[in-house]
């Protein structure tokens, strides 16, 4: 067997894991129970906090996974069992019938138009209809239909077969039966996902009873431009725009009655996103969010909330909703709620959205059961603090919400992290080499263009509207065209053979296909060209289906004329195409990891475990970073042993070169070929240079040193970190140092913890994410030591997201008192005649409380490392406004930088807890390994090129390039493109006043040639 991993679940987690593994040349079987990969993310309209269009960012990944030679996708399939042990698993998969021959089907969709049976559209949550035979959604991968056997007239009643009749490719196969597939794999990743809470269980909210109450995911479809209302916000009851919309948070989450005690982690931000989007769709609509705690704990989340409040005028009401009533005449909804001071209010809304939580339901639990995967008390896969992506069964890993609710970036991090884990078990297996034998490329230099034109009928998809013979006839009159013909389906295998034949027979040196969209089909024809000995870039597509026949069905003449125009433009352009070659860049298989904290050490070990050399650079003498001060895990366990074993592993690993007390002086080069100058300090300062192929930034962050609440002025005021250190010292050494050497936790009487010290204020408008959990952890610890101790936690929002909520609950049950304060009315600390007291306004009692205390603990925030700036300049990667490193994409590329070959993990990215740092470190390692696994990589074919003779070296392109792929040659004073980094966006090209840069494949003269014949 060669390296192979089974990934179960084709949502974003499964896709990301599969892609990372595939890029490590590991074969992946990706099993999806639905008809298309994509998961829940395909149904989202936008994503927080950037409001990126979900489908726009996801669909390239779908296409990539669908066409990757190392990924085999099995849809409509479920995992039955896994036998054996790592790394020798055997999985049994049951593939249910689709009733479509996937090999034959071209996805033309004609059958869909012929099907007489309409069914509810699952993709739109049943808010619209689709056909019984249908393609799940336009961007589906594979893009072929499925027959819903429950409704099919033929399968149910033996009559119809209209789809079968309409299919030219004879791809409909009613005889399909369930199929059992056995797959051997070295490791398994479970990305089973989760499901939405069934809101009908909360009958007090009237879901399914009152038409204008909908769930957040339904509302997501309403917002979507491709949804049932094309993005118009309309009430189901009367199809009118609502004047006011309410969001009810925590529906099915943090709910003792239902037993879903955890927090679903994403609903707050989803609601915030929605209230912003509503203003874009229906400016002026009043929006209210009824919430318990606003859990905006992620990167730039708080700013997003502020924007919703301040700019979009959304109202946030701190309250729990008791019930929803309806006005029978207007179908308006009356929301009944209690305010902070306990008064009950009723308010009318036109539409109510229930922010439903995520949960692990029957199907998921059943699968877990079949696989012997232990679940935790919340029904999610059980994991530990230090092994966050492992399951209870060795060799089987998790990614995504199967192990607990989480948002997309964390899911993606876990996916990459699980890829790192999964791949680490495969070291004994060989790589499956996939190499295609291609004929030698025909040299077309100096030849005049000999263009072959192939016009697709696409069954009737094109031919019913566009007069295809006329288009073929027309194209044959154009200069340079030596062959024109039509195809019934140009994407069929037969057609590829004809193209190859014509290339040989007529010595074609350019090919134009007029058919569907290049976005899905260009690679197919390029491959055909390659197989025929032509450079794949001597090809141009004219889109006469999606952008012509389908959209001008009523204007047949104009559509034919337009098709001729589009073809003429393509021909004019293709004449100027020339063969493009990709350059090969060799890769240095070593990694530089900057920072020896928990993240840096984890990433280093993961890389080293797979045989890659690592230079681990730590600026301090000791390894461990901030984790040295984390003495207890959230569950109360000690962390020491874990840290020490990690340090031991690092020190004893032969693949890791450790540089402590060392700083980075200079970084040069690019992906695959970096050169870094290191300077060791200490007693014997020295400099050295290391060469490596990738960089992982794990430089950590710093603790905010408070200036408020008498910190530094009164010994009884300490930070959480100091408290934890002190508790640990007392527990393990029996005595404490620091500000409270003599105090005894057992004799303390009253203490206060203040949250958000140095966080979420004007200067640092972000949440430090970990302080709530840390305070809860330390409070529980103290309370266990000293049950009589009164602990008051003064907070703004308790952000114990996900399963951390259980500890919050525990703390409350133990009698720890949580008192909410508002930003405008911060608590005050006073030392009055030696007595320390705290004044805070209690919002429920609506009056000031004065608490006399022995100890004040400040939950001080995490701030970015001051050295980030200089490092970011050396790396040429950006920082965000708060000084943390800014990843390439906040949703789908959470550990990458825009610059290839550089990755980020740990606190350098944003505040996070140990589990998250470990996950991200593993993700960074996996992403790094997608590069290091290869000996070399190919640059893109369509990259920018400089015409030196025109370049004056003004440097504009250098500043514009988002990938830092352009440098200025200081001697020649010309720009130089680094093809290894160039992604071919062309921003430099259109910015260059001298036209000294051009983009291969999209050259100015090629585009102008098309323009000239419009």
């Amino acid at each position: 067997m060669h390296k192979r991993v089974l990934v179960v679940g084709g949502g974003i987690a499964g896709i990301q894991a599969a892609l990372d593994l595939a890029e490590m040349k590991i074969e992946v079987y990706l099993i999806e129970k639905g008809p298309s990969i994509g998961g829940r993310m395909t149904q989202l309209d936008k994503t927080f906090p950037t409001n990126d269009c979900a489908m726009c960012i996801l669909s390239p990944k779908l296409v990539e996974a669908g066409s990757h030679p190392y990924i085999k996708i099995i849809t409509n399939a479920e995992l039955e069992s896994i036998t054996g042990q790592a790394p020798n698993f055997e999985a049994t998969i049951i593939k249910k019938p689709r009733y479509i021959n996937e090999e034959k089907c071209t996805g033309c969709g004609i059958c869909v138009t012929k099907c007489p049976v309409k069914i509810a559209d699952e993709y739109n949550k049943g808010l619209s209809k689709t056909k019984c035979i249908h393609i799940p959604f336009p961007q589906a991968v594979p893009a072929i239909p499925i027959i819903d056997k429950e409704y099919c007239a033929y399968l149910k009643r033996g009559k119809c077969r209209k789809c079968e009749e309409s299919c030219e490719m004879k791809a409909i196969d009613f005889s399909q039966k369930e199929e059992v597939i056995k797959v051997n794999a070295g490791s398994v990743i479970l990305a089973l996902g989760s499901e939405e809470f069934d809101a009908t269980l909360k009958d007090e909210y009237g879901y399914k009873t009152f038409p204008n109450v909908m769930t957040s995911i339904e509302f997501e479809r309403i917002l979507s431009a491709s949804g049932p209302t094309q993005g118009h916000i309309l009430r189901p009851s009367d199809g009118k725009e609502p004047k006011s919309i309410a969001f009810i948070q925590c529906v099915g989450s943090r709910d003792m009655q239902l037993g879903n005690e955890y927090c679903s982690a994403i609903c707050c931000m989803q609601a915030v996103k929605d209230v912003i989007l509503i203003q874009e769709h229906l400016p002026g609509v009043e929006t209210s969010v009824f919430y318990m705690d606003m859990r905006a704990y992620g990167k730039d989340f708080d700013k997003f909330v502020d924007r919703a409040k301040d700019y979009y005028k959304a109202r946030f009401v701190h309250s729990r909703i008791s019930s929803i009533e309806v006005n029978m005449d207007t179908e308006d909804l009356i929301v009944c709620y209690a305010t902070d001071d306990g008064t009950i209010k009723k308010e009318k809304f036109g539409l109510v959205v229930l922010s439903v939580g995520l949960l692990s339901t029957g199907g998921i639990k059943e699968t877990a059961g079949k696989l012997n995967i232990e679940l935790n008390e919340c029904g999610f896969s059980k994991s530990s603090t230090f092994m966050p992506i492992s399951t209870s069964r060795a060799g089987i890993f998790t990614a995504g919400t199967f192990s607990g609710p989480k948002d997309i970036p964390e899911t993606v991090m876990e996916a990459s992290g699980s890829a790192a884990c999964a791949s680490s078990l495969l070291t004994e297996f060989p790589v499956k080499e996939i190499k295609e034998e291609l004929p030698a490329e025909i040299n077309i230099e100096g030849q005049p263009p000999r263009i072959g034109v192939f016009v697709c009928r696409c069954g009737i998809n094109i031919a019913a509207t566009v007069d295809v013979p006329r288009v073929v006839e027309y194209s044959s009159t154009l200069k340079g065209v030596v062959h024109s013909q039509e195809f019934m389906f140009s994407c069929s295998q037969d057609s590829q053979k004809v193209i190859t034949k014509m290339i040989k027979e007529k010595n074609l040196n350019r090919v134009v296909v007029a058919a569907c969209t290049p976005r899905t089909h260009e690679p197919l024809f390029q491959k055909t060209l390659q197989a025929s000995g032509l450079n794949p870039y001597l090809f141009e597509f004219a889109n006469i289906r999606e952008q012509c026949s389908w959209v001008h069905q009523e204007a047949k003449d104009s559509a034919t004329k337009k098709a001729c125009d589009l073809l003429r433009m393509a021909i004019s352009k293709v004449k100027l195409f020339s063969p493009l070659s990709k350059s090969t860049i060799t890769i240095n298989k070593k990694a530089l990891v900057i920072g020896g904290g928990i993240a840096g050490m984890t990433a280093s070990l993961d890389l080293a475990a797979q045989g890659f050399g690592v230079y681990l650079v730590e600026k301090e003498e000791e390894l461990g970073g901030n984790f040295r001060h984390v003495r207890y895990a959230l569950d109360g366990g000690k962390t020491e042993d874990f840290l020490n074993s990690l340090i031991d592993k690092i020190r004893s690993n032969k693949n890791i070169d450790l540089y402590t007390n060392t700083e980075i002086k200079e970084i040069n080069g690019y992906v695959g070929n970096f050169k870094t100058r290191l300077a060791a300090g200490g007693k014997k300062p020295s400099e050295s240079t290391v060469e490596h192929g990738v960089i992982i930034v794990a430089t950590g962050a710093e603790e905010y040193e408070p200036t408020e609440y008498l910190y530094g002025k009164d010994d009884r005021v300490v930070t959480q970190r100091q408290l934890e250190e002190w508790l640990w010292e007392k527990e393990s050494k029996g005595k404490g140092t620091g500000p409270l050497p003599d105090a005894d936790p057992r004799t303390l009487k009253n203490m206060v913890m203040i949250q958000c010290v140095g966080s979420r204020d004007e200067e640092r408008p972000y949440c430090s994410r970990v302080c709530c959990s840390k305070a809860i952890k330390n409070a529980i610890k103290l309370k266990e030591l000293n049950p009589r101790l009164n602990i008051y936690v003064l907070y703004r929002d308790i952000r114990s997201y996900g399963v951390r909520e259980l500890y919050y609950k525990k703390a409350r049950e133990m009698g720890i008192i949580f008192i909410r304060y508002e930003e405008e009315a911060k608590p005050e600390a006073k030392n009055s005649k030696g007595r320390l007291n705290i004044k805070v306004k209690d919002l429920i009692l609506d009056r000031d409380l004065l608490i006399d205390i022995d100890l004040l603990v400040l939950s001080s925030g995490i701030i970015a490392d001051k050295k980030n700036k200089s490092l970011s300049q050396m790396l040429k990667v950006p920082l965000n406004d708060d000084g943390f490193f800014l990843e390439a994409h906040v949703k789908l590329r959470p550990v990458d930088f825009a610059t290839d070959g550089i990755f980020v993990c740990g606190l350098a990215h944003y505040p996070k807890d140990v589990s998250e740092a470990i996950t991200q470190a593993k993700a960074a390692a996996a992403r790094a390994m997608t590069i290091l696994t290869k000996d070399s990589f190919q640059t893109e074919g369509k990259v920018s090129e400089i015409r030196k003779e025109r370049c004056s070296g003004c440097g504009l392109c250098v500043e514009i390039c988002p990938y830092k792929a352009i440098d200025l040659d200081e001697v020649e004073k010309v720009a130089v493109i680094n093809e290894a980094l160039c992604k071919g966006c062309g921003a430099c090209v259109s910015s260059c006043r001298a036209n000294a840069i051009d983009l291969k494949g999209f050259k100015d003269e090629q585009i102008l040639a098309a323009l000239e014949v419009v």
Binding site: L478, K479, R568, S572, E949, L1011, E1012, V1013
Partner: protein, 359 residues
């Protein structure tokens, strides 16, 4: 001159005369255009700018337009030489200054020389009658008298006119001019001696106004060995490399020929393109840029040297004429006041002082 038979015509009558010639000729006259003078096709009811000093753009554009289509080509069009005058009419250039008329005679040598004939230019030239207007308005940067010129220079003109106020004195210079006057005899009267005296006085006055006098005797010989002189390093320094001096010069005649492709040709029966000729300038780097990327005149220095050498050395060599008429346009319009006279003066100092400067 002494024996010339002068005719006289009332200024008012001239407009009528021109009006009557409109059918036969395309007539170009100086008109006022935004405070400057420019030659423009004569329109009925339009007055002639009698008092003009000289036109901003030289009238060479009439015979040698800034851009002209030589022929069209392509599947839809037969190859067809253009180059004929619009409507096939003859040209009458009326009121051109003597320096510019002289420039036409220089252009004739280039476009109608022994070695090389330019049919486009020659066809127009053959059909052209040049009526010059003696100069009574020299400007401070005029220096025609330093060359071959003077206010009543006749070279290049078929007829020369003198503006005497109410009347205009006309004298035929060439046979063509004689015939023209003969044919239009009804408009003219014989001039009296007083008219001629008046003209002489006017010309004396005019001549006196030309203060700018430089000695460029034997400049051709001076420049024979000056190609590598260090003086060029300084002369060009402030040149911006624009084309004003060459575009405005009545004797500069360099051009570029390119094909222009008709973007709409692919789908219709219209011609695919045309070959056009347009002015070019030796002051532009592209003028001598080879396809290889090599440029034999890479900097301002070489280009400036070329312009001077061409006018004052190569042309005297090839055509036995200095290709400068002293009209002063290049001086007047230069954005950095790079004065040709100064350049010439410093070049004239060559040999005497600066032998040691030579490379």
């Amino acid at each position: 001159m002494e024996n010339k038979k002068f005719k006289i015509i009332k200024k008012k009558e001239i407009l009528k005369l021109l009006e009557s010639l409109k059918k036969e000729y395309s007539i170009f006259v100086p008109i006022e255009d935004n405070g400057d003078a420019r030659f423009s096709e004569f329109k009925s009811g339009q007055d002639i700018f009698w008092d003009y000093r000289n036109t901003k753009i030289s009238p060479k554009e009439i015979l040698f337009p800034q851009a002209e289509t030589l022929f069209c080509f392509g599947p839809g069009a037969e190859v067809k030489a253009e180059g004929s005058t619009p409507g096939g009419k003859d040209y009458l250039i009326f009121g051109i200054r003597p320096c510019d008329a002289q420039a036409i005679s220089l252009l004739d040598k280039v476009f109608g020389g022994e070695d090389f004939e330019d049919p486009y230019y020659l066809e127009r030239r053959k059909k052209t009658t040049v009526i010059s207007l003696a100069c009574s308005k020299p400007q401070i940067d005029c220096f025609c008298t330093s060359l071959k010129g003077k206010p009543e220079n006749e070279e290049g003109a078929d007829i020369i006119l003198f503006d005497l106020g109410e009347d205009v004195l006309a004298g035929a210079v060439t046979k063509k001019g004689e015939k023209f006057i003969e044919k239009q005899n009804k408009w003219f009267k014989d001039a009296g001696q007083s008219d001629v005296d008046k003209k002489d006085k006017l010309m004396d006055l005019s001549l006196n106004k030309i203060k700018s006098q430089i000695d460029i005797q034997n400049i051709k010989e001076k420049l024979d060995n000056a190609f590598n002189d260090l003086l060029w390093n300084e002369i060009h320094q402030k040149c911006l490399g624009c084309g004003i001096c060459t575009y405005f010069c009545p004797t500069c005649h360099c051009f570029d020929i390119t094909d222009e492709i008709n973007p709409k040709a692919a789908d219709s029966k219209t011609p695919e393109g045309k070959r056009v000729r347009c002015w070019d300038s030796c002051m532009y780097p592209l003028f001598t840029l080879h396809a290889s990327g090599h440029n034999p005149r890479p900097t301002y220095k070489e280009r400036m040297r070329q312009r001077i050498m061409h006018k004052f050395n190569y042309c005297p060599e090839n055509f036995k004429e200095i290709f400068c008429v002293g009209c002063g346009r290049c001086i007047r319009n230069c954005p950095v006041n790079l004065d040709l006279r100064e350049v010439l003066v410093s070049l004239m100092s060559l040999g005497s002082l600066c032998k040691d400067k030579k490379i």
